[in-house]
Symmetry: none
Subunit: 182 residues, 4 copies
DNA sequence: GATGAATGAGGCTTCATTCAT
DNA sequence: CATGAATGAAGCCTCATTCAT
């Protein structure tokens, strides 16, 4: 994974993968059909453990805003600025050339994440925490700033550092209403 | 550009570029030092004409919301779902391996686009169109849904079509307040 | 070696080397970093076994002239008119473009050969076999005719055959005095 | 010539030649059939003006030794340590691959030079300046130290500087007898 | 005559894949 | 199962040569 993340699919050498894995090059072919299927399987394997994190419903105690905030902070801490941010970049980069991966990613991560988010938005609307009813149709709006933060860290952090958590607060204020209007 | 967009830097063959350009392979080297600098120059060339579009201030007549909306619609129409969306994907994908490109893109597009957006946000706050004062610190929040729309079109449109303009309206409602709450 | 000798460094094709070696082209790169280092290593390898021959002191029995003569004849037989003569030509030809080779050749062959020759000249002067004392400063003078013979065989033999051994006798007569002036 | 001398035939680029000549690449083909024939003609052209120098009989006034010495010094000054030394090296290097050049060089330079030298040796023997009668059969022996000096300057001067003129004196002492035995 | 942009064959090198051990 | 030497297809790049202007 680290090799593919660092160089992309085409520029990654099986030699380097084998060396880092501590096995001989031939050994790879005992486990994978070829480079492509290895790439696809590795991406899948890397995503799976993260899926359960995303779909575990947050502690249902407090406000929906608190739940969304907890989810978003977890996402930022576990993804933005880590190797996983580059995994997101890798999927964006290679997705069109590996439809199987884009499909898998949509099915396992995107659609589930959006469904969970949509449920939270619905709940917030019901409770009156969110006033914009159309938001339920576009849960992407809730997630967009996190995506941008992840890509920003990966591409532009050295040009202009971004305080992702502060941005998140402003974002939540926009959606849930400012916390301390007074 | 089309070749690089379709396959990424490493997987693109100069043979194909030459064939599509209708020249012999050697001819490429009369114009570019090597594959890398060709890639960088092509990206630059593809971006430049778009920069002026982004930085041209919108007709200052009506409300700020109208100006932002006009800008955003233009962006969606000219980028999302077109080849330019793939150019954005390409920059995200290859940025880390071509710092010169990431630098150029940040300098020419990102920082300028954000500055223009920040000015509009400031104006809207002054006029009372936007109530959230912190937004001026995070113009990325204004742009994030457009980025997500662009990537969505490129990666997941076939799984679940996205009505980007409708999403944009909801986004603007969140920021400027719903148009017709009544 | 044969390929490099026949065509020089630049004009030699790795294809031909591989074919002659009975391996695939890629196999070469398991043993050598690139064409240049292969050339350098091959030259080194070809020279090494000859160095010991040169520095083995001749049987110390008879006169110094006999020792020098034995050495020179060995040199002529083993080099002039053989592939090794072309190796000398190759080093002369490519030396300036491969300083590493010129350095190695000077260190391993030239300086050692001259040192050995200087010792013999010194001995001969001590014993009174050679009357010209300055010769010890220019052992190159002792060796020059052999060098010329080697190059002659390689370049002009077909224009005018050279009896190198007879020329050697005349040379030795000049230095040690004619054998049978009477 | 300078380009061929600096890199050898195969590694020299017509681009560089044209640039240095101040003409366009195509212009070369108005004067030469191809790279090979250009090389051959250039070598010929470079040699010709030197031939007359070599064959001009030295001032016949003094001793033969003085005449040989004048000739040899001229050769050393005009060749050793100059670009012409590299021309000699070039001919040695490319001779076998360009028989036409080797032929020309033998006919115009080597055979004439040796003939001139042979005549001088014959004269010296007649006059009693040289006692070794066989030398007339091997004029190469007279010239060998100069060849070695030329190659030495080109290849090993930086390892061990050679005082070619002092070496020449010792060489002449060997052949003509030491100047001041007392 | 002169130009130099264009050509494309050919060279060096890389690397995914195989297979005898 | 594991190895890693060997393969050879394929890619990047160079450069002698051509030819329309």
């Amino acid at each position: 994974m680290d090799e593919f993340i660092a160089r992309g699919f085409a520029a990654t050498r099986l030699d380097d993968i084998a060396r880092r894995a501590g096995v001989a090059k031939g050994t790879i072919y005992l486990h994978f059909k070829d480079k492509e299927s290895m790439f696809e399987e590795l991406i899948r394997t890397a995503i799976v453990p993260f899926v359960s994190r995303l779909t575990t419903p947050p502690a249902p105690g407090g406000s929906v805003r608190d739940m969304v905030e907890a989810l978003a902070k977890m996402f930022l801490q576990e993804v933005a600025g880590t190797r996983r941010a580059d995994l997101v970049r890798l999927i964006i980069a290679e997705g069109p050339r590996f439809p199987a991966i884009a499909d898998f990613y949509y099915r396992e991560v995107v659609s589930r994440g959006l469904a969970a988010m949509r449920a939270l938005i619905q709940l917030a609307i019901t409770r009156g925490e969110i006033r914009e009813p159309n938001l339920v149709a576009y849960p992407q709006l809730m997630i967009a700033p996190m995506m941008v933060a992840v890509l920003w860290k990966s591409l532009f952090e050295r040009h202009a550092p971004l305080d992702a958590e502060a941005m998140l607060q402003t974002h939540l204020d926009l959606i849930f209403g400012a916390r301390r209007p007074q």
